[in-house]
């Protein structure tokens, strides 16, 4: 069986209101999904996204709160302006735009993150593994990075 696509999931810690969903994300994520929890999507530096891409992620998913529901008022809007542009920019130099997905979650949403991740995974399987920009040299455990 071929490897499942590697997904880097950046999740704002406020966006999942349902405790069961949050528990699922925290403890039951499949192994091909790497979770990075941030205090707000506004904290996601484009460098994090680049690090995921260079480290060989086939897709990046960013989940945050709906507009006007940001815990920090406009953190998600600031993030969206930057990350959306960064996504366009990566597409310009060779990392397919479809490999980055933004999800905005609402209070009423239950189980939506699982559905979104599954749909994203399916789309990524269709696209195949990402090779462009995945240039970081793997370092052995305990060894210092260049």
């Amino acid at each position: 069986m071929p490897d499942k696509p590697k997904i880097a999931l950046f999740q704002c810690r406020w966006c999942l209101y349902s405790p069961t969903d949050q528990e699922w994300v925290d403890t039951k994520l499949p192994e091909n999904i790497h979770l990075t929890k941030t205090p707000c999507t506004g904290r996601i530096n484009p460098l994090y996204m680049l690090n995921a891409v260079q480290g060989g992620a086939d897709g990046v998913m960013i989940s945050g709160c709906l507009p006007e529901q940001c815990h920090f008022k406009t953190g998600n809007m600031a993030a969206r302006r930057q990350l959306d542009e960064f996504n366009d920019f990566l597409d310009y130099i060779g990392y397919d735009k479809q490999r980055v997905r933004f999800v905005w979650l609402d209070l009423q949403d239950r189980g939506i993150i699982q559905k979104q991740l599954a749909a994203f995974e399916q789309d990524l399987e269709g696209m195949g593994p990402a090779s462009n920009l995945a240039t970081r040299v793997k370092v052995a455990e305990g060894e210092q990075n260049a």
């Binding site: 690090n51 310009y92 997905r101 990075n145």
Partner: protein, 319 residues
């Protein structure tokens, strides 16, 4: 070309009357193709002041390296004026402490192009309107000035300084915005693999000297992200990931701040093309937010001017 004596007289007046402490401009360099930035602190030194098409630095880069409270005079072209405005917006210098001597710019000459045309043995370059007289050890060559402009100057939109305190010379016609647009759009019509191949080919020559950073007026961080050790944001060696990461993030940090002066590309010792990256970001800022950096000294760049009005800009659910 603006009258060099008029620029010198103005610089002398500023220094004599104590309006400014230092005038930042150019003087003759060690080779005829490379005039160098110079700091004039007394009126006697000003006779060395020089301005021609080969002055390739963006002088606004020195603004953040001079003491913040010092009063600075500066000879500015269109792009430098925009960089100064962008720095004023970011509160790196207050406009009251600046005196800008504006010169309409006919475009900066790319010395690489001159050398590849006439050879290394250039002894002098004279500009006369649209003609370029290049003196070499073997004789003279008459060239067309427009053929030797730097690429980013060919697609320059605003050659005139917009907020200079005094303008020396006649304002020039504005450039065609479609030239910058087509540069980006032509690149975008290539397939994604071709785009990546081009980016890879350019980035892999990088020797990580950071000349592009030092030449850029907007790169004034005390500590650059590549110099940061703990945590290390990106590989700092000349590895593929390090080189590509540097080019991506250096360009991206200029989003909404880059004034398309092309100083980064002119500073590169490896002749790496990098304005196609910043042009893309400028293009997007113009398209999405109707914003161009440095046109005035008040407007915040789009990434700083976030409002809730944005909520309809992006698709709410996963696209």
């Amino acid at each position: 070309m603006p009258d060099i004596e008029a620029i010198r007289n103005e610089a002398k007046r500023l220094l004599n009357e104590g309006v400014v402490e230092v005038v930042v401009a150019f003087k003759a360099g060690e080779t005829p193709l490379h005039p160098q930035p110079a700091f004039f602190r007394s009126a006697e030194e000003v006779d060395e002041l020089l301005y021609d098409g080969l002055c390739q630095n963006n002088l606004a880069a020195f603004l953040t390296r001079l003491p913040k409270q010092s009063k600075v005079g500066m000879v500015v072209r269109g792009c430098e004026n925009r960089s100064v405005n962008a720095l004023v917006v970011e509160k790196q210098k207050s406009r009251e402490n600046l005196f800008l001597i504006g010169v309409p710019c006919e475009g900066i000459l790319d010395w690489h192009k001159i050398v590849s045309e006439v050879g290394e043995a250039v002894t002098a370059v004279k500009e006369d309107g649209q003609n370029l007289m290049v003196e070499t050890r073997d004789g003279y060559q008459l060239l067309e000035r427009a053929d030797f402009l730097h690429d980013s100057c060919k697609r320059c939109i605003h050659p005139n300084p917009m907020s200079a305190d005094i303008l020396i010379g006649e304002p020039l016609p504005e450039g065609d915005p479609n030239l910058a647009r087509t540069t980006v759009e032509n690149f975008e019509t290539q397939t994604i693999e071709d785009r990546y191949a081009w980016f890879q080919k350019e980035a892999e020559r990088c020797i990580r000297c950071y000349a592009c950073r030092q030449a850029c007026p907007m790169c004034y961080c005390e500590e650059c992200f590549v110099d940061h050790i703990e945590p290390r944001w990106t590989e700092s060696g000349a590895t593929p990931a390090g080189m590509q990461g540097w080019h991506i993030v250096r360009a991206f940090h200029q989003t909404g701040r880059c004034t398309s002066c092309g100083a980064c590309e002119r500073a590169c010792p490896m002749d790496i093309k990098m304005t196609y990256l910043t042009e893309k970001l400028n293009h997007d800022m113009r398209d999405k937010y109707n914003f161009e950096a440095g046109l005035d000294a008040q407007s915040q760049p789009p990434f700083a001017a976030v409002t809730l009005d944005d909520k309809n800009r992006f698709t709410v659910r996963g696209e």
